[in-house]
């Protein structure tokens, strides 16, 4: 029984995991990224357009990532260069992404998916499913074991720290936000690659679930992806409807959990100290 849940859990977790990693990079540099939802949506859309035009999944992936980066750049320019309110910009980008998919009406054709690799006992999965744990570990090492990661995190912990090293905080923030665009874009690509079609509402709040996972995972890659695994497992329960729980209850599970964690009732969320703060 439980074994049946593995494939759907992995497929649910992968897009969340990528988006959450993206969210971690951005928030670790101090930029709140509510635009993950929109970046995933445009990533998915880009994959569709690219893969449909070239009939190649890899081109699709590239276009999807590129669109994610375009949105990330918009977010970065507004919030870092022009010191715009980060939350409002994020919401605006989500509206914009939705608008793009409504303006350039997407094709309803099926598009090729990314190649799959087999694994004994549990079936074959898209290469991105395997990429996620690798990137998770790499991100953890980069962020917490290298001087590079120390600097990236310093951007989010203090508005002054990097200046004392005569490094530019803005540069690291740009870097973090662009990385989040890449990752969220990949997350969106995976979703289209997985089911071969695109629908307007296909992200359906996954960007926000990923954001919840970032918080639940205390802004750390390993815990963040683990949180995604938990949420992914919950939503695969929703699909299989194993225990006859109302699926709306399962759907709201990540959100309620996040609120509890944020309130400090279970563990303590400790966001980067300078999250959302502009240089003064």
């Amino acid at each position: 029984m439980i074994l049946d849940l593995i494939p759907s859990t992995l497929r649910m977790t992968t897009p969340l995991g990528f988006a959450a990693l993206g969210g971690i990079y951005s928030e670790r540099t101090g930029i709140i990224n509510i635009a993950l939802e929109g970046m995933m949506l445009l990533g998915a859309y880009g994959y569709l357009v690219g893969a449909h035009a070239s009939n190649s999944a890899w081109i699709g992936l590239l276009v999807g990532i590129a669109l994610g980066v375009v949105l990330a750049l918009l977010h970065a320019v507004a919030t870092i260069t022009f010191h715009a309110e980060q939350i409002v910009t994020g919401i605006a980008i989500n509206i914009l992404a939705l608008g793009v998919t409504e303006y350039l009406i997407p094709t309803t054709d099926r598009v090729p998916g990314l190649p799959e690799m087999g694994l004994p006992f549990i079936g074959s999965y898209s290469v991105l499913v395997y990429l996620l744990p690798i990137l998770m570990v790499v991100s953890h090492i980069l962020l917490f074991k290298t001087p590079w990661g120390l600097r990236l995190r310093a951007a989010g912990e203090s508005t002054e720290a990097l200046r004392t090293l005569s490094l530019s905080r803005a540069k690291w923030q740009y870097f973090g936000v662009i990385l989040s665009g890449i990752f969220a874009g990949i997350g969106g690509c995976f979703m289209v690659s997985d089911i071969h079609v695109f629908t307007k509402g296909m992200i359906g709040g996954r960007g926000y679930v990923a954001l919840a996972a970032v918080i639940f995972g205390n802004w750390r890659p390993l815990y963040g992806v683990a949180a995604c695994l938990l949420f992914g497992f919950a939503s695969s329960l929703e699909l299989t409807n194993l225990w006859k729980i109302p699926d709306q209850l399962i759907k709201s599970f990540p959100y309620i959990l996040t609120m509890i964690v944020l309130a400090g009732l279970v563990g303590r969320a400790r966001p980067p100290a300078a999250l959302g703060k502009n240089e003064s």
Partner: protein, 361 residues
């Protein structure tokens, strides 16, 4: 001499006020110009007639009382959500949860409207009251979590949104669905719980015009909010906590208490947007009825500079855009998405201008 002096002071004061007004109005006006310019550029790229585009907007929005009525109808929920966001913002709180608040409120109003059989005089206020209470609970929870545990209200209002969608979805589909119907909607509320159409009162509107009394409630709300913010003790406390929490604390105001009631108030106002849909238009709860009004409310508040009258103006503009978008799609075959993209860029542009001016001060 004395008269001349006081005249100069008066003149200077007036000049200062005018400058201040221009300063406040300039960014929104620039953003709106940018929006229409952008639409124009896209139209040129599509090789379509610009003149036709702008005249279609004008004809679709203003050519008759009925068209104007439709614009007002479209802006009604946005007035409520815009006010809700603005009230929170004045207190330094970000209520992104309007969408969820209006859903639970709409459901509460529907429930009361279906299950209580009372004369209109009692039922209408009861429905509205139930909706406002539901909305205020949904707003107060994030407010409480912020006041008590310091949890960021933005994340919590987003989370509460999804809980509200799931909750109302569950209630509509599994418990209160209209019998023998595929559509996820409840039965209709009693006649007595419905708000009258304005076409009954104003014969200039044709019978098919959808504009209902909730628009009048919205206008009243704008005025009440203005008076509340400017002339009452609570309004003063709210603004003080928003501008200078420390000062407020020295003055004997508890910012935590203010945080909770402001979020509750904001939720209650957002809930009225649900009332407008249920009691004024659809007369039932339909799953997913709101087309993102809670989020558009953020843009409305921003464009209206969080001033009640500004919010009214901005809501009218967005109501116009929503109404016109349909005609633009039908007549000129320009997809509605263009306006959404424009809206997104308009908001980004506005917050950028705000960010720059804040930095320059």
């Amino acid at each position: 001499m004395n008269i001349r002096q006081s005249f100069t002071t008066l003149f200077n004061n007036l000049l200062f006020q005018i400058l201040q007004l221009i300063r406040n109005l300039l960014p929104p006006l620039l953003a709106i110009c940018g929006f229409f310019l952008l639409c124009g550029i896209v139209l040129i790229l599509r090789r379509q007639n610009l003149w036709e585009f702008y005249t279609t907007i004008f004809i679709s929005g203003f050519s008759s009382f009925d068209e104007v009525g439709s614009v007002l109808f479209n802006s009604t929920p946005l007035i409520f959500t815009g006010l809700a966001v603005a009230i929170g913002y004045k207190c330094g709180l970000f209520n992104i949860g309007c969408e969820g608040q209006l859903y639970v409120a709409a459901f509460a109003a529907t429930w009361v409207g279906i299950y209580l059989n009372l004369p209109s005089v009692m039922l209408v206020p009861l429905c509205i009251g139930a909706a406002m209470i539901a909305g205020s609970i949904w707003g107060a929870v994030p407010g409480f979590l912020k006041a008590k545990f310091g949890a960021h209200e933005v994340i919590n209002t987003i989370m509460m949104n999804f809980v509200a969608f799931a909750l109302t979805n569950f209630l509509v589909i599994s418990v209160y669905r209209e019998p023998d119907q595929m559509i996820p909607q409840t039965a209709q509320i009693h006649e007595a719980a419905r708000l009258p159409r304005l076409s009954n009162m104003f014969p200039v509107l044709s019978q098919s015009n959808l504009l209902d009394a909730s628009f009048l409630i919205a206008c009243a709300c704008v005025v009440i909010c203005y008076i509340f913010l400017k002339y009452t003790r609570w309004g003063y406390e709210l603004r003080l906590v928003g501008n200078a929490p420390e000062v407020a604390e020295y003055g004997g105001i508890n910012p935590r208490v203010v945080t909770v009631w402001v979020m509750a108030l904001s939720g209650a106002i957002a809930g009225l947007a649900g009332v407008a849909d249920v009691m004024g238009y659809r007369h039932r709860f339909l799953d997913g009825f709101s087309s993102g009004w809670g989020f558009t409310g953020i843009a409305v508040a921003l464009l209206g500079r969080n001033h009640p009258f500004g919010v009214l103006a901005a809501a009218l503009l967005f109501g116009l855009l929503n109404k016109v978008a349909l005609d633009i799609e039908l007549i000129l075959e320009v997809p509605r998405g263009l306006f959404l993209v424009g809206q997104g860029l308009l908001i980004v542009g506005l917050v950028c201008m705000e960010g720059i001016s804040k930095r320059n001060n």
